[in-house]
Amino acid sequence: MAKIDNPTNTVQAEVEPGLLALRAVILARGYGYSASMITGTMAAALAANASVFSMRLDPAASGGHAKAYVERIRLKFTTLVAFTTPVTAGRRLELYRGSGITPSGGAAGVVMPKKGATDTSEISIANGGDIRIATTGALTMTGGSFEAGPIRGMSLSHVGAAGGFYDCLWEFHATKNQPIQMDAGQVLAVRSPVAFDAGGTWQLQVDVDWHEATEATYAG
């Protein structure tokens, strides 16, 4: 009867009594990272298609960091000063992927490795990537282009009064579906498909979880 050994033959996998199922532990693939950032007081009248958060994988990313797999983005939106029309149809933020884009402006972000203190992420500015969030105005996104369709949306029609708050989770986790894959040089950005009106100021917090790994060559 075959038994599953570890590489040095010191531990064997156990079959669970009662269930007669192989015991297994799930380990996160690749190298795990997170980042948490918040805008300043965003000025009123954000233009259409402005970017307020972006992360870019190092164009030279390779090996064990060749791809970034974004598993979860959580956004928390707060209205600070009421919009001129508090309930406005179509007001929203959306997530887009793009390529060939160089982001700048705003505040640079810090990547936190899930394990250990050494920042090995290819999203980190120090390692050739980029991650940033707006302070009071839109980020500058130079060159390249975004894909036509949004990946996710965050409807903000209902949170136009001062103190209005909405917590939105964009979940891509592998066990639920598939993470968003970023290739070297690709950008993910939170953008405003429509202009915001001239009255409202607001704040956005963004939390992101992702891992970096080689491409799953043998995956279906």
Partner: protein
């Protein structure tokens, strides 16, 4: 017995203490996509109209030796916003139905995004006679579509009667938690209003969908 990779350079480890085989799951089977859209300001709806639809454009018969692919919906997230103060009607709701027989039209055509930019184009595309559509201000055209009798999921809106009222639901079908919602070739899902909505109700709906497209195995019933 040791489990190794293809060239024998790595051997699967066993977690000490737990005596459990280690594995790392990267993703579920198939090609992953998502699509996101939002209505315009929608007015009163007649019973059984559709405001969102997504259709699997795969041909009924695949290439020689292959079976046509299925589309598996893992998750739908709906965000409903009331844009006017209205009089709620008992039973006002939006519900998910599956159907087939024709292609929906009207509203705004949506563009699916592949989870991997370099993957194949989704079967939800116009060149395959399939699209995803969401209403702008009125119902989609669903002429010729026959829906199954029972709805799959529902979102109550009868309580959401104030301007600025908001509700968010997740319709979760993930294989990991239960079973994905399968669309065979040429089938579609639609979000419909089983009962009419009140004449003074104006509203907006945002829809996010995660789905995968999987090649069916010959001789399987998947």
């Amino acid at each position: 017995m040791k489990i190794q990779n293809r060239d024998g350079t790595r051997t699967m480890d066993v977690e000490p203490g737990l005596a459990a085989a280690r594995y790392a799951m990267e993703k579920q089977a198939g090609y992953g996509y998502c699509v996101s859209g939002i209505t315009g300001t929608v007015g009163a709806m007649a019973a059984n109209v559709s405001v969102f639809a997504l259709r699997n454009g795969e041909a009924m018969q695949g290439k020689s030796g292959e079976a046509a692919g299925v589309l598996v919906i893992d998750r739908m997230r709906l965000k409903f916003t009331g844009l006017s103060t209205s009089t709620g009607l008992v039973g006002e709701r939006l519900a998910l139905y599956r159907g087939g027989g024709a292609l929906q039209s009207g509203g705004t055509a949506l563009v699916p995004s592949p989870k991997r930019a370099n993957t194949r184009a989704s079967a939800v595309r116009a060149t395959l006679g399939a699209t995803a559509n969401i209403s702008t201000t009125a119902a989609l055209t669903v002429t010729g579509i026959v829906f199954e009798a029972a709805h799959i999921r529902a979102m109550m809106i009868q309580h959401n009667v104030l301007a600025g009222g908001f509700d968010e639901v997740i319709w979760e079908f993930s294989d990991y938690e239960n079973a994905g919602l399968v669309l065979l070739p040429q089938q579609l899902v639609a979000i419909r209003a089983p009962v009419g909505t009140n004449a003074n109700r104006f509203w907006q709906l945002q829809v996010d969908v995660d789905y995968r497209e999987i090649n069916r195995l010959p001789n399987s019933n998947f």
